[in-house]
């Protein structure tokens, strides 16, 4: 999956997003969020178009985008795995779960994406499901009370 911003359908969608927020205060973050929903990540090209559309400096767009952990600057896999490393997960063995995940995904380190663009693996601070620790979220689904053996089981649902 390369950059899809030249795709005319998607280009129109960016224009639509921009027109919704032009001239409004506080629009930059929602625009970045919606753009990321369309493209999967924020390419330089997309950020430049956003700067242009909202009439702000590209450095401001880049500064805001890189400040928040939600934004990504390289293509992501079809499924995003968020391995929780909150306090409760940490004391319940989150490190082991993530390491097994790395093993099962051919050595994929947190922050990376598999070569077939199927999975992106992220470590996150806390998903707020602490009583089910250790927890992993794949796309919008939460899997709790994990152990090393269950990792492959839940990955298989998405393979």
């Amino acid at each position: 999956m390369g950059c899809r911003c030249s795709d005319s359908f998607n280009r129109n969608r960016l224009s639509a997003i921009l027109s919704e927020y032009q001239g409004k205060s506080g629009g930059l973050i929602p625009v970045l969020q919606k753009a990321q929903n369309v493209y999967g990540y924020l390419s330089e090209d997309v950020m430049l178009k956003i700067a242009d559309g909202l009439e702000i400096k590209p450095s401001v767009v880049y500064g805001v985008a890189t400040f928040y952990t939600q934004f990504r600057f390289s293509p992501v896999g079809e499924h995003i795995i968020r391995a929780c490393h909150g306090t409760a997960c940490h004391v319940s063995g989150a490190e082991n779960i993530t390491r097994v995940m790395t093993d099962k995904l051919g050595g994929l380190e947190p922050g990376g994406t598999t070569a077939d663009m199927k999975f992106t693996l992220d470590k996150v601070a806390c998903l707020g499901c602490c009583s089910l620790a250790p927890v992993v979220m794949i796309d919008n689904d939460v899997y709790g009370r994990l152990n090393e053996a269950r990792v492959e089981e839940i990955l298989a649902l998405y393979r």
Binding site: S25, G26, G27, L28, I29, P30, L32, Q33, G63, V64, F67, Y68, T69, Q70, F71, R82, H85, G86, T87, A88, H90, V91, S92, N96, R99, V100, D103, V124, A125, C126, L127, G128, C129, C130, S131, L132, A133, V135, N140, D141, V142, Y143, G144, R145, N147, E148
Partner: protein, 590 residues
């Protein structure tokens, strides 16, 4: 008489435990049997350790089934609904009920009881009667006074009196004012706000309406973190329903009070829990705190007077209005009134959410309600971490400390948002300090030098200690850095970042010393300081460890003693988890 119905717990915890499948299975079963039975969903009642919870409500009474899986659905319908026999081995136990009985549920009054997607059910419980009472019979100043009298203090962590805060915003002059709900719950280990948002979103909306009326704001924002998709979904539904019923928009309850409400999705930055950073984020900038004064009550969002309250604080408001300030102040201690919700997690038997009157002791919360340490009694309580990255670890000798703002502060921890992560003797306190410093170091916005660089240096020191490379003088260096970061940071994040290190140094200094002087981790948790060994007498040669070992470090024939090669071993611990005979143990490496 209530109609017969089944209610399935579908908060995030219920869904993660397979609640949706249970719901579908029950729904199919009801249709195929042609039963006259409604099926509904509800939020989290707090017994997360028992999810999926299913309530069966018949004219004869209510029965709660615990740890329900889809395969149990048919029997529940056939035996309980059709034949009228309760399946007693699947219901919650008396112990579970005692845990609920010891609680005082004000914030969580509707969680796990009503459908969060139904405004009618909220209104049946007295919902939106508080805003009506306020609009029809109270002046804004009367509302401020009532909240001040109740003694309610901000539940986000700092504990500032809510009524006093509202009073500032009420007196502040501006052509437009804003009311913000801070739902950017970021403390690792805390999830009460998520549960309230998912389980009772209308109570937050009503709390904001009352607050908006009290300070004279007509525009509100709910700033929710993007990691909570279900909370966002249910809030959106609730806002639409409130609008349709005339509680949001122009001329609320036939008055000239109007209120608009929007959701802002946070983009992921812990520092945005700080109010000036949150405001910057809503304005579309980097979420960096600024110097106060001016306080947001004078100059907040877009330079206008602004009030910010946390989710749990707001959920209290309608209850206080309906039951009176005295009713609220009858719970709690002299300086900490009312109740507090705690999120019990970590090595605890009954993890979940509990709401108790302020002043209950930590021991009662953790042992009487939470059931003590998880497992079969092999491990013992070591510490409870309170207040997230700004808080600290409280040892067992202080378990009789009452939970109120001032007593908790005296221990060196803080109440924070109410996350309680329980730790047993397998948790290394130096590693916990490292864990939190890693977090704050990552989340520091970078504005203040000591927070930006000082936390980094503290983290590096802690990293070398847990790796067995600690130096003489490291403890003093950590203490020195901690004091300086505390003194020279602008916002709460930096000012409290050293707390996890300071409290672990205060109560568990010997663990630091073992790491540094003997290269030993007493909890046997730090990977660089342990190795694994097979106990000959216990190993039966089953081969399970060989199968699970990722690096071929264990060898041996079936039914013969296995051998572990420490040079090949990466100390992942999978073999320990797998071995049923406890034949593989952790030993000191050096």
């Amino acid at each position: 008489m209530q109609k017969a119905r089944i209610i399935v717990g579908l908060g995030s915890c219920g869904i993660a435990s397979g609640g949706k499948k249970v719901y579908e299975q029950l729904q199919q079963g009801i249709v195929s049997r042609g039963l006259d039975l409604a099926i509904e969903e509800t939020g989290c009642i707090g017994m997360c350790y028992n999810e999926v919870l299913v309530d069966v409500i018949l004219p004869a009474g209510k029965t709660t089934y615990k740890q329900v899986i889809p395969e149990m659905a048919d029997r529940i319908l056939d035996e309980h609904i059709v034949e009228g026999r309760i399946i007693s081995e699947w219901t919650i136990t008396q112990e579970d009920e005692v845990c609920l009985d010891r609680q005082q549920r004000i914030v969580l009054r509707n969680c796990g009881k009503i459908s969060p997607e139904s405004i009618d059910e909220y209104m049946e419980q007295g919902g939106y009667r508080a805003i009506e009472k306020v609009i029809k019979g109270m002046s804004p100043e009367m509302v401020v006074d009532e909240i001040t009298l109740s003694g309610l203090r901000g539940r986000g962590g700092a504990g500032f009196p809510t009524g006093v805060k509202w009073g500032f915003a009420n007196k502040s002059i501006g052509d437009k004012k804003y009311f913000i709900c801070n739902a950017d719950e970021g403390d690792p280990g805390a999830f009460m706000d998520r549960s309230v948002l998912e389980g009772d979103p209308h109570s937050i909306i009503e709390g904001m309406l009352i607050g908006g009326y009290a300070i004279g704001a007509n525009h509100g924002y709910i700033y929710v973190r993007a990691e909570y998709p279900l909370a966002i979904k249910r809030l959106k539904i609730a806002i639409e329903q409130a609008r349709t019923h005339g509680f949001i928009g122009q001329g609320i309850c036939g008055s000239d009070f109007s209120f608009e409400l929007e959701i802002k999705e946070g983009a992921g930055a812990f520092v945005c829990g700080e109010e000036t950073a949150l405001i910057a984020s809503i304005e579309g900038s980097r979420g960096m705190p600024r110097l106060r004064p001016p306080f947001p009550a004078i100059s907040g969002l877009y330079g206008k007077p602004t009030n910010i309250n946390n989710v749990e604080t707001l959920a209290n408001i309608p209850w206080i209005i309906l039951n009176g300030a005295d009713g609220y102040a009858s719970f709690g201690t002299e300086k900490s009134k009312g109740t507090k919700v705690f999120a019990l997690a970590g090595k605890i038997q009954r993890g979940g959410l509990v709401e108790v009157p302020m002043g209950m002791s930590l021991r009662e919360v953790i042992f009487d309600i939470g059931g003590g340490i998880a497992g079969t009694g092999k491990h013992e309580f070591k510490a409870v971490q309170l207040g997230g990255p700004s808080g600290g670890c409280i040892p067992s000798s202080l378990l009789d400390t009452p939970v109120d703002y001032d007593s908790i502060n005296q221990t060196g921890a803080i109440m924070g948002s109410g996350g309680m992560v329980v730790m047993d003797n397998t948790t290394c306190m130096v590693d916990i300090a490292r864990f939190f410093l890693n977090f704050t170091q990552n989340e520091s916005c970078g504005k203040c030098t000591f927070c930006r660089i000082g936390t980094r240096r503290m983290l590096e020191i802690l990293e070398r200690i847990v790796a067995g490379n600690g130096l003489e003088g490291d403890i003093e260096l950590l203490e020195d850095l901690a004091q300086n970061i505390r003194r020279t940071s602008l916002c709460g994040l930096g000012q409290t970042a050293p707390n996890p290190v300071l409290t672990t140094l205060k109560y568990f200094k010997s663990e630091y010393e073992s790491h540094i002087k003997q290269r030993r981790c007493p909890a046997k948790a730090c990977k660089e300081l342990i190795s694994f060994a097979i106990i000959d007498e216990r190993c039966k040669g089953c081969g399970l460890c060989i199968k699970v070992c990722p690096c071929g470090a264990i060898t041996g024939e079936k039914k013969k003693l296995h051998v572990l090669d420490v040079d090949k071993c990466v100390r992942c611990g999978q073999c320990v988890a797998k071995c049923k005979l406890e034949a593989i143990i952790k030993v000191d490496r050096w």
